[in-house]
Structure formats: C-alpha cells, structure tokens
C-alpha cells in the first residue's frame, strides 16, 4: 500500500496518471454541468416563495461546498508535505489555493447577488456569510505568503505551516461566529435551513455539485502538470517528452 503510494508520488508517474485522469474528469464534469444547468434552469419548477431567483442556488451551493472541500484538500496535502516531505503534495496544495479562493469568491458573489432580492441587502453579518468571508482571507493570506518568499522550498514549508494552523482555526472560527451571531440576533435571516427541498430541485443540485468537483479535479490536475513540468524541467523524462512533442 505504502509503496504504491510512493510510486504514485513520483512526479513522473503522477504526471502520466494526471494525463489520463484529467481529460476523463473533464468530460464527466462537462456532461454533469451541462445536464445540471439544463435541468436546473429549465426543468426544475419555479420556487413558489422565491420565484426564479432561487436558481442561483445551482451555482451558489456547489461553490460554497467546494470552497470548504478545497481547503481540506490543501490542509491535508500540507500535512503530507510537512511530515513525509512529499513534493507532490506541495504541488497540489499550491495549485489548489487559487481555485479554492475562486470558489470562495464565487460563493460570496452569488450569495450576495441572491441576498439582494431575498433580504434586500447585498450583505448581512450573518454567521455563515462571515465565516465564508474569513475563509477567503485565509486563502488570500496563504497565497500572499507563498508569493512573498523567494526560495521555493521555504515558501512551501512556510505555507504548509500556515495552512495547518488555519485548519485548526477553521472550526473555531465557525463556531465562534455562529455563536456570536445568534447571541445578538434571533435567527431572523437564516432562511437556509428550509429542511425539505423538492427532489426535482435536489437532483440538478447534486449534479452541479459533482460537476464542480470534477471541474476542480480536472483543473487541479492540469495545473499540477504544468507545475511539475516547470519544476522538473531539467529532468530527463521531461526533456524526452519535450523532444517527442508530447507534453
């Protein structure tokens, strides 16, 4: 098991795997996203309470989920990198950060677009909104730290420490914000928790969520590939591939 893991972690093997999986995930993601968009926008019924504007949910909720999922991936890879010095894990963490930040931003933007018709304001200091905003700061801090350190090895380890410190902090932030918010205000605005969602709305939502996940993996793998090429430009296998024109 461990040996398998190590062989995969060699960038050459990973590169080859990514070459296969990337397009595969890409196709799957594209199918799911098309289906999800179609069913979400045209097939799913209009919400009797919110009208058409609720359809933002098909972008908003998947991106909100992805924003958290990507941070977990990043933190997990950072731990792998710090403990076992797996360079591949560092690469995955590095390329995931901007994508996670983008998902977070998308969740914030769509949520805020949705908030205008729903609550009448672009922004409320609601618990969930606030902790999503802080998550964006964590991503930006992570990327800024990486960008500020010239030496790549040092940058990678410093960023990994920060990601791990952040992962300890995320649940703390989450609960403190929730608690802070309910302390002052009764749950007047938490319309999120409408427990039942109709199946015709749920299916496209899940399709979109899965599609977003595949999109993330496709994009992450292709970014990882280009980083591997950049870092290993001096290695023979890269040179060979370059000569044979199949990068």
């Amino acid at each position: 098991m461990f040996q398998w893991f190590h062989r995969l972690a060699a960038s050459k093997n990973f590169y080859r795997l990514a070459e296969i999986l990337g397009p595969l995930f890409g196709v799957l993601g594209a199918i799911l996203l098309t289906l999800g968009v179609y069913r979400g926008l045209f097939v799913a019924p209009t919400d009797y309470e919110q009208g058409e504007s609720y359809r933002i949910i098909y972008v908003h909720v998947p991106s909100a989920w992805m924003s958290m999922f990507v941070y977990m991936v990043m933190a997990f890879c950072s731990a792998l990198f710090l403990i076992w010095k797996m360079k591949l894990a560092d690469i995955i963490a590095e390329v995931s950060a901007p994508m996670g930040a983008a998902f977070t931003f998308l969740a914030l933007a769509t949520g805020s677009l949705w908030g205008k018709p729903m609550w009448g304001t672009w922004w409320e200091w609601d618990a969930r909104l606030t902790s999503e905003l802080i998550l964006l700061f964590l991503y930006i801090g992570y990327m800024a730290l990486r960008a500020s350190i010239d030496n790549r090895g040092s940058a990678a380890r410093a960023a990994a420490i920060l990601a791990l410190v952040g992962v300890v902090n995320i649940p703390i932030i989450h609960y403190s914000v929730e608690w802070w918010n309910t302390l002052h205000q009764p749950a007047s605005i938490t319309k999120f928790d409408t427990p039942s969602i109709h199946i015709s709305m749920l299916v496209p939502l899940l399709m979109m969520a899965l599609g977003f996940t595949f999109f993330y993996f496709t994009n992450m793998l292709s970014r990882a590939r280009s980083v591997i090429l950049e870092r290993e430009a001096n290695n023979n296998w890269v040179k060979d591939r370059f000569r044979e024109n199949r990068l």
Binding site: G141, A144, V165
Partner: protein
Amino acid sequence: MGGAFWALLKRDMLLAFRRRADWLNPLVFFVIVVTLFPLGIGPDPGLLRDIAPGVLWVAALLATLLALDGLFRSDFDDGSLEQLLLSPQPLSVLVLAKVLAHWLVTGLPLLLLSPLLAVVMQLQVVAIPVLLVSLLVGTLTLSLVGAIGAALTVGLQRGGVLLALLVLPLFIPVLIFGSSSVIAAASGFAVDAQLYLLGALFLLALVLAPPAIAAALRISTE
C-alpha cells in the same frame, strides 16, 4: 533549560528597558486608535457607549498586531536569531521566553491602561472587570498566535502588512469572545461561557503555538 529561558527573558526585558519606545508605543497607539473613533463617528454618547466594547477590543487587537512585527525582526536583522536556532536548548522553550517578554512589554501596559479608556468611552463600570480579564487572557492568546505569523514573515522585507493579513483571520475568535463578553457584562448578562472559551483558546495556543513558531523560524532563516 530553565537557565536559558530566564536569560533570554532577562535580555529581552533589558533591551526593552533600554529602548523605551518599545513599550510606550503600542500603548500610545492603543490610546490614539480609541480616541480616533469619537472623532470619526461623531460625539453622540449613546452611540459611543454601544460601540465601546468593540472599539476597545479592536484597538487592543490592532496595537498587539503592530507590536508583533518587532517580535523577531530585530533578532533576525542582526543575526541573533540564527544564534538562537543554534542554541543547544529546546527552541520552543526559548521562543516561549521571547513571547512572554514581548507580552510583558507590550500587552501588560495596554491592559493596565484599558480601564481609563473604558471610562473615556463611557463603558458601564460593571463591565470593566470583565474587560480586564478578557483582555488579559485574550492578549496573551493573541501574542502566542501572532508570533506564528511573525515567525513566518520575519525574513520578508515588508512583513508588517503581510503579518496582519496572515494573523487577523486567526485573531477573530479571540476578538469575538473577548468583545462579546464585555458586551454581555455591560448588558448585565452572565459572562462565564465567553471567559471559559477564551481560556480554552489560550490553553490551545499555549500548547500548539510554540512548536509552530519554532518550525516557522527555522524556515525563515533558510
């Protein structure tokens, strides 16, 4: 081990004593930020009283933050930090001594001055003891957590603002529990829950921060 801890603590206190600016400045910054608010917002006493706990806590947080930048920087600039890393003593203990000295020099005076500013901001008198306790535990936690950021950014030319960016998200729970304890006290509610949570955060930071700081310092001197 204890010897090196005390020696480092003593050295840092001596240095702070030599350059009075070190402990005077965060203090004055604290005062100035608190006084800026009435100027920016307008002198309505009701409004001021409502925002007093928040402003006091935010000002304390910003003052701590500003002071943090200097925690390892001068040691880094003159090469003392390398020597610290090459010390035979365990690095996390030495790091703890530095954080403690830093808090004694910057956090403690701020704490002692806060009742005065609370009065200026029209905060209810009953809330002042809670303000003190929350600031005591809170600024200690901020110093510990912030030291991780300071260690990560010490090698960078303009670490100051990057430091702010890195640690402010980590400071938010402390800010929330700290200020909400004071708000609760001012409204006459119980504050045990908030203070226990602050204490728990402090213990967590005390255990986890020193090794993280030590690791970050080793990276920064590469």
